[in-house]
Symmetry: C2
Subunit: 230 residues, 2 copies
């Protein structure tokens, strides 16, 4: 496993609090993940990201990934058991990266962080102009879907999917609790609402990626507020 | 196209009203789809269902389907352009069948029909004992996921997915409107709530199929009621 895990985002509730900044900067662009790899593992993740982007899930092979790094296939096999191990670790790492970019490394209270996520998924754009398309690469979303489809029958993939989903639900729950603490979210049953938000989030991620007309998704943004409003 | 289409379920609002029955029978079992095929097309659909159940999406081939019918490959190609055409039509037909079994051919008001769907997806079982697992075959759900994953990049699949999803959303909307008419559902914005229900429904279908522990899904059942309760 790499040393940056979900644990960081999940356990440290203070991460959700606004960091004191001299000069608050509104983020209007979204960096590509692993764009400046510092380790072999990050270099492999960067290459995986590019192969997924260009060739889709079915086009992923260790050879193709190696071709986009300075590393040999055997070096990749030194870090990862096989293609699936790599894809699972990549997927987990990318998710952590998303959470950091979207929520943790951002000013505002917990509700503001949650609003960013909901705006991005349901409206397709955050208030400060980050678009869904610039955040979620099609290859990555397709990979999530393929993994879920495999998990229907494959116990190992099923265990991975269950674990990752629980992490995201816990993240939502921690965010809701931080919001109740900082007064930006009304008193709610955080576990129930986290489950509901996760379903909406997952559904929106899926449908926004595989449908042409997703204008209907924006309607769902408003009723969600009624669960959260103070 | 086969002659039973979504149109039937979508346009005929009266279908949602309880049919007068002398002796209401509570349905506690769930028939397998296409178990008694009456036409070549239905025989092909039955075989497709069995191949998906036993081999998954990746194992579907026209040859394998033909092997489980009394028909030749060329007869199958007479009815369907290719494997994907067959899978799309199968998927649409199966969805209609589900809707009929779960909602249309059932006593009770519109809210009762909606409750059946929500209970099945969120609780895993309807009040009269029909289980999620006995309704949604794993191969079928995996097929939906694979198709969605393909739709991320394939315009034809994307168009199909968009069309099918719009049909289901319209179905939810018609059901909500029938509920407002028969007094079983409070006055709501049916389009908004239909979109939200569809997201929850789709998310639950997906996650219930690819996760081990889905107990957390049951928590979402209660807040949904608050949108519908009179």
């Amino acid at each position: 496993m790499t040393d940056r895990t979900f644990g960081r985002a999940l356990n440290v509730r203070d991460d959700f609090m606004p960091a004191p900044t001299e000069q608050p900067v509104r983020m209007t662009t979204f960096e590509e993940p692993f764009i400046d790899p510092a380790t072999s593992t990050e270099e492999i993740f960067r290459a995986t990201y590019l192969v997924l982007r260009d060739h889709g899930y079915a086009g992923v092979s260790i050879q193709r990934i190696a071709d986009r790094t300075s590393l040999s296939k055997s070096t990749i096999y030194y870090h990862f058991d096989d293609k699936y191990d790599l894809l699972m670790q990549f997927s987990e790492e990318l998710l952590t990266w998303y959470i950091d970019q979207l929520v943790v490394d951002h000013e505002g209270d917990a509700r503001a962080s949650l609003d960013r996520l909901l705006d991005l998924l349901l409206l397709g754009e955050t208030a400060d102009g980050v678009c869904f398309e610039s955040v979620f690469a099609p290859g990555y979303v397709a990979t999530i879907m393929e993994m879920r489809a495999q998990a229907v029958r494959n116990p190992e993939m099923r265990e991975y999917v269950s674990r990752t989903d629980a992490m995201i639900r816990n993240h939502f729950e921690a965010l809701l609790e931080a919001g109740m603490d900082d007064g930006s979210i009304r008193e709610i049953d955080s576990e129930t609402v986290a489950s509901m938000l996760f379903l909406l989030f997952e559904g929106a991620l899926l449908l926004r990626s595989c449908e042409d007309d997703v204008e209907w998704l924006t309607a769902v943004r408003k009723p969600v507020d009624s669960y959260l409003d103070r």
